[in-house]
Amino acid sequence: MAVLTEEQSLLRDAAKTWTQEKSPVSAFRKMRDAGGPLGYDPAAFAEMAQMGWTGVIIPEEYGGSEFGYLGLGLILEETGRTLTASPILASALAAANAIVLGGTDVQKQAWLPKIASGEVVGTLAVDEGPHHAPDKIAAKVSGGKLTGRKTFVLEGMAANVLVVSAQGPDGPGLFLVKADDPGVSRQRLSLADSRGAANIEFKDAAAEPLGGGAVLIEKVLDRARAGLAAEMLGSALQAFETTLDYLKTRVQFGQVIGSFQALQHRAAKMFTDLELSRSCVEAALSAIDNDSPDVPELVSLAKAKMGDTLHLVSNEMVQMHGGIGMTDAHDAGLYLKRARAQETAFGGQAYHRDRYARLQGY
C-alpha cells in the first residue's frame, strides 16, 4: 500500500482495530437478520462519527479534520473488509463534498458541522433509471421547486438532506433538498446486499442550488467513485484472504486443496489483480488530494479495474469454497451480493471503460 504519513498510519490502525473488534462481518449479518429499515446500525455509526470518521474531508472550520481522500480511503478500505454498513460514503463523502465544493458559507454552516458530527445524514441522488447516466437528467427545478424522480439513492431512507442533480434555470447542477419536505416521497428498496437505498419522488420540493453546475456533478461523483473503489478494495482483499485461508485448511483427496496447482495459479491471478487494483485506487485518491487534472481518468480506471477484480474474487470465493460457500451461513454469499452492488453504483465497468476511452479522446 501507499507510503503513509504517521497520522495516516494511526488512522488506518484505528479503523482496522475498530472494524475487526466492533464491527466484524457477524455484526453486519446481525443487522441484516434484524431487518432494520436503514440498512445499517445507527449505534455503530454513532461510534464511527465519534471517532471523527464522518469529518475526514470536511474543513476544520466546519467541524471536520480535513484529512483528505487518501485518509478517508483507509477507513473505507477497512469498513469494506468487514462489510460494515454505514452512510459514510453517501453522507460524509459524497454529500459533504458537494456542499464543501458548491455550498455558500451559509449552506456550509447549516450542514457540514452536523454531517461531521453524524447528527445529519446526507446523500447524493443522481440517477433516474437502471443505468448510471449522470448527464441524462429529467428532474427539473423551477422557481426553487424540484420535480422529478431519482432511483437507487444510497441511504435514501436514512438521509435528512439530499443532494440532487436537476436541470435548473442555468442548466444542470446540484440542489439541496430536505428529506422531510412534503414534496419528497420515498420508496424503500429491499436489496440483495441488505444495504439501505430508496427510489425518491419529488413533487415541487423546495430546492436550494449549489454552485458549480454540471462540472460539480462530475467532481462530486468522481470523489464518491474513488471512495467506493477504496471500500471495494477492502471487500475484495478480505474475500481473497478468507478464501486463501480456506485453501490452506480444507482437505480433500488427502491434501489441502491449496496444494492443487490449478487453484494456486488462480490464486496468483487474483493476487496480481488485487495489487494492480490497489495501485489504481491509491492513485485516484491521491490525485483528488492533489487536485490533479487527471482525476477523472484515474477514477474511472480505479472503479473499472477494481470492479473487474472484485467481480472475479467474489465469484472465486464462492467457487473455491464449494458447497459451504453456497450456504447463507457462510460469508461468501454476503461478499458476492455486496460486490455486484458496489460494481453497479456510480457506474459499472463498461461505463467507466467507455468514459476512460472518451477522456483519452477515442
Partner: protein, 327 residues
C-alpha cells in the same frame, strides 16, 4: 484417482436436479434383493414415496470416498452415527439411501449402501438456507439410529460400486440436457432485454457497445453449445461410440449459464440488485435469485475443477502428478 473424482461427482449431483433420487429406482432394480425390490419399487413407480440421497458429508465433498458416517453391526441391526449434508428434500423424504462406513481400515471397500427409514428415532433434519434464500437441501444428523439388517443393499463394502453405477444411470439421464434452461430466467435472447434496459442506437444496435460485444460473444458461445449438444447426441446414436463432445457438456454448459446470469444482472443495472418487495418486478427478482442459485452449477454435480481433471485424465490421457498412491 479418476474413479474417486467420478464418485465425487455423484455425491454432489443430487442437490441440483434431484437426478440422484430419480436414478435410485434403476439402481435398486439392479442391486437390490428380491425382498427390497418387492417392497420399494412399486411405491417408487407410483410416486408415493419420496427418497432422499445421503452421500456428501461436511468433510467429504469432492472427495466423497472419505465419508465418515459410522455404521456398526450390532448383530440384529445396524447402528448408524454421523452427519450427512446436501440431502435434498430430506425434510419431506420418507426414506433415505445412504453411503455409510462399515470398515474404517479401507477407503473405498469400507463403504456400504444402506436404506434408512426417515421416521427412525435418532434422525434430525435441518434445512440449509442457501445464498439464494432457498432451502432445497438439509443437513441430516444420525444419532444411534437403528436400521434393520436387511436394509443393506448389495454386499457389505459394496456401496462404492453401487454408487458408481448410480452415476452412470445419472449420466445417461443427463445427456443432451444440461443446465442451460435453468440459467436463463428471462426466456428470450439477451439482446432484447438489453435494448429494453439500456436502449438502442438509431441503427437498432444495443446502445452500450461494450455490452453489445459481450452479449454477442455470449450468445455465440451458447449457440456453439447447443450445436455441440445436438452433435453429441447424433454421434452417440450413430455407430461412432460415445462422443468425446459429451465430456465437455457439463463445464461448458454451466459456465455459459453463469455467464448468462451475470450478463442479465448487468443488463438490469440497479434493477438487478433487488431482493424482494417494492421497486422490482417479479422477473427482476427471479433473475437475482437465479443468479445466486446458479453459482451451484459449477460446484455440485462434479465441480468444474473435477470435470477438468476428468477431461485431462480420461480424454486427454494426461498423467497424474507423482504423489500419494491413487485411489
Amino acid at each position: 484417482r479418476v474413479l474417486a473424482e467420478e464418485m465425487a461427482a455423484i455425491g454432489a449431483a443430487n442437490p441440483i436436479g434431484g437426478m440422484g433420487t430419480s436414478m435410485f429406482g434403476p439402481t435398486l432394480l439392479e442391486y437390490g434383493s428380491e425382498d427390497q425390490k418387492r417392497r420399494h419399487i412399486p411405491p417408487i413407480a407410483r410416486g408415493e414415496i419420496r427418497w432422499c440421497q445421503g452421500f456428501s458429508e461436511p468433510g467429504a465433498g469432492s472427495d466423497l470416498a472419505s465419508l465418515q458416517t459410522k455404521c456398526e453391526d450390532k448383530g440384529d441391526h445396524w447402528l448408524v452415527n454421523g452427519q450427512k449434508i446436501w440431502t435434498s428434500g430430506a425434510q419431506w423424504a420418507d426414506w433415505c439411501f445412504c453411503l455409510v462406513r462399515t470398515d474404517t481400515s479401507k477407503k473405498h471397500e469400507g463403504i456400504s449402501f444402506l436404506l434408512i427409514d426417515m421416521k427412525s428415532p435418532g434422525i434430525e433434519v435441518r434445512p440449509i438456507r442457501l445464498i439464494s434464500g432457498n432451502s432445497p437441501f438439509c443437513e441430516t444428523f444420525f444419532t444411534d439410529v437403528k436400521v434393520p439388517k436387511d436394509n443393506l443393499v448389495g454386499p457389505l463394502g459394496g456401496g462404492w460400486t453401487i454408487a458408481k453405477r448410480l452415476l452412470q444411470h445419472e449420466r445417461s439421464g443427463l445427456a443432451g440436457t444440461g443446465p442451460m434452461g435453468r440459467g436463463g430466467l428471462f426466456g428470450g435472447p439477451l439482446n432484447q432485454l438489453a435494448k429494453d434496459y439500456s436502449g438502442a442506437d438509431e441503427a437498432g444496435r444495443i446502445a452500450d457497445s461494450d455490452l453489445r460485444a459481450r452479449i454477442a460473444t455470449h450468445e455465440m458461445e451458447a449457440r456453439a453449445f447447443q450445436l455441440t449438444a445436438i452433435r453429441s447426441m447424433v454421434e452417440s446414436r450413430s455407430n461412432q461410440g460415445p462422443s468425446a463432445a459429451t465430456s465437455i457438456m457439463k463445464n461448458a454448459g454451466t459456465r455459459i449459464a453463469q455467464e448468462r446470469a451475470e450478463l442479465t444482472l448487468e443488463i438490469l443495472g440497479t434493477q438487478g440488485l433487488g431482493w424482494e418487495g417494492q421497486g422490482f418486478n417479479a422477473d427482476e427478482l427471479a433473475a437475482v435469485r437465479g443468479w445466486l442459485g446458479g453459482k451451484a452449477f459449477t460446484i455440485y454435480g462434479g465441480s468444474a475443477e473435477i470435470q477438468n481433471n476428468i477431461i485431462s485424465k480420461r480424454i486427454l490421457d494426461l498423467p497424474d502428478p507423482l504423489g500419494p498412491s491413487s485411489n
